[in-house]
């Protein structure tokens, strides 16, 4: 099973290119990480300052969803090629998860 073979005939050139690409990827990862830290801080501060619950709860959930997207697409490389089927199944799981949570928070009231 040989896939992902380099197109270049000169491995030295190829490896230099790949190293550079990987390093660039890594730079994005670090930026993602900083963003994640920032979003976490914002969420904790939003709760520390007593805003109305009607603002705070949707706001911090939104921040969590943004963090989720960062994690999926950068840390877990879902933005890379070959992740179409993983994405399909993960999002299917998310749909079932969302329906479950929606039901438990709306039609369980005893």
């Amino acid at each position: 099973m040989v896939t992902n073979h380099s197109n270049s005939t000169n491995p030295k050139v190829d490896i230099a290119y790949r190293r550079k690409k990987n390093a660039e990827d890594m730079k994005h990862q670090v930026i993602t990480f900083i963003m994640t830290l920032f979003l976490t801080l914002v969420a904790f501060f939003a709760v520390a300052y007593d805003y109305s619950a009607w603002f705070t709860i949707p706001f911090i959930i939104l921040l969590a969803v943004i963090q989720l997207i960062f994690q999926l697409y950068y840390f877990m490389h879902m933005s890379h090629k070959g992740h179409e089927i993983p994405a399909l199944f993960l999002y299917s799981g998310v749909v079932v998860a969302a329906v479950t949570i929606l039901a438990f928070t709306t039609i369980i009231w005893w």
């Binding site: 040989v2 992902n4 890594m26 830290l37 709760v47 911090i60 199944f89 998860a97 969302a98 438990f104």
Partner: protein
């Protein structure tokens, strides 16, 4: 390209985790498993949300949770996510030694997170008498957060086993997918924690 073939930085493929059929299967199978885990945790989250106000005369969430501990725990786990990304970065560059070092850092951060969580539970039980058997809230809280903790524990054993087993042999196409999916697992644990600190702790503080 045989799975055990000794490779060099030049011959190591760009996506080593998917270079063999076994690797591709592991990669996809694990992503599917994470789809299932999403529903598993959603069921626990949903149960928690339905029961979080049922304190049965005990301490309510807003007076119970120690946000500073949670904040430190969050930072530890988020950072461990980044360090495991570093490990995968070095794996792609065929730098086995650096990969092992960053995995080691990840394990240490995960361990610190776990110890903090154990302390936190101990604190709730001894200072507030908040136990898994005290109320529906207690049951749901410890089950949700504890299931996550069990995942962290499993992940630590997994990564450590991988590190020890492969320490002498270096990277090849047989173990690259194993390292890769272990790191996927670690990120997933982190994703779950993002929702735990948001939905359980932060929302618990908002009255």
């Amino acid at each position: 390209m045989h799975v055990e073939e000794k490779l060099t930085a030049e011959t190591f493929p760009a996506s080593p985790e998917r270079a063999t059929l076994e690797g591709k299967n592991k990669f996809l199978g694990f992503w599917l498993f994470l789809g299932g885990e999403t529903v598993l945790f959603a069921s626990l989250f949903a149960t928690y949300l339905a029961l979080r106000d049922q304190v049965n005369g005990g301490t309510p969430a807003s007076e119970l949770f120690e946000l500073p501990i949670v904040f430190v725990a969050t930072m530890l786990l988020l950072t461990s996510s980044l360090t495991s990304v570093y490990a995968m970065y070095h794996m792609k560059n065929f730098d086995f030694k650096k990969m092992q070092i960053w995995l080691g850092v990840t394990v240490l951060l995960g361990l610190a997170f776990l110890l903090l969580e154990i302390y936190e539970f101990y604190h709730y039980v001894h200072h507030y008498d908040h136990k898994i058997t005290s109320s529906a809230f207690g049951s749901a809280f410890y089950t949700l957060v504890g299931t996550h903790g069990a995942h962290v524990t499993f992940g630590l054993f997994w990564i450590v086993t991988l590190m020890i087993r492969n320490s002498k042999r270096g990277l090849d196409l047989y173990n690259a997918p194993k390292f890769y999916i272990a790191s996927l697992y670690w990120h997933f644990i982190d994703v779950v924690w993002i929702f735990i600190f948001t939905v359980v702790y932060l929302m618990g503080m908002v009255v």
